[in-house]
């Protein structure tokens, strides 16, 4: 099946810093989504982005499908941005394949 690798696994930043999270995948995909898992365990949809670039406030994402990677950018980090960020892809099957996530800690 399709493989999803996320980096870095852990990231600790000061409030106000910018960050880039990376997701590499092993095959062509029909669907790519970024999620934020908050401390209560809820998965929050950030982006549906199988290709191209999208922005939502301080967050933006870019997927280069031909090179099989996606990037999530967080600018001016806030403590509420802390949590685990998951990339998930679907490559022809129904179910999403998730990466192991990037655990982000924003310190005040």
């Amino acid at each position: 099946g399709i493989q999803v690798e996320q980096s870095p696994p852990d990231l600790i930043l000061q409030e106000g810093a910018n960050s880039t999270l990376r997701c590499n995948f092993s095959d062509s995909v029909n669907n790519l989504q970024w999620f934020h898992q908050n401390p209560w365990g809820q998965l929050i949809n950030l982006f549906y982005i199988p290709s191209g670039t999208k922005q939502n406030g301080r967050l933006s994402a870019t997927t280069v499908a031909t090179e099989r990677y996606s990037l999530l950018y967080i600018s001016s980090s806030q403590t509420t941005d802390s949590g685990v960020y998951f990339c998930a892809v679907e490559g022809g099957a129904d179910g999403l394949t998730f990466g192991k996530g990037t655990h982000l800690i924003i310190q005040p």
Binding site: N30, N31, Q33, F35, W40, G41, Q42, L43, N45, Y48, P50, F86, A88, E90, A93, D94, G95, L96, T97, F98, G99, K100, G101
Partner: protein, 112 residues
């Protein structure tokens, strides 16, 4: 904004008992999914459901699991005889067009 809801938020059950997790997908969505996340691990796909039948299932989804859409709004996951290793967060998701999936808040299942 419409959202996927799940009940209960937390379920504690004894090993060997049957448990039913409930989900109400977004009302006009056609594709429904269950995922699970064991504590500290990544989210894993269990099963997808479309047109009143299972369209795909993973290796995890063995004979102990079943899904049902008993009416026009609910989507359920049943575990017939729970094991300790079934302890996890279970997420329901739905999709209009089989692309972008919207996740519910999850049910934390604890098997003792």
């Amino acid at each position: 904004e419409p959202e996927v809801t799940q009940t209960p938020s937390h379920q504690v059950t004894q090993m060997g008992q049957e448990v039913i997790l409930r989900c109400v997908p977004i009302s006009n969505h056609l594709y429904f999914y269950w995922y699970r996340q064991i504590l500290g691990q990544k989210v894993e796909f269990l099963v997808s459901f479309y047109n009143n039948e299972i369209s795909e299932k993973s290796e995890i989804f063995d004979d102990q699991f079943s899904v049902e859409r008993p009416d026009g709004s609910n989507f359920t996951l049943k575990i017939r005889s729970t094991k300790l290793e079934d302890s996890a967060m279970y997420f329901c998701a739905s999709s209009l067009n089989h692309y972008e999936q919207y996740f519910g808040p999850g049910t934390r299942l604890t098997v003792t």
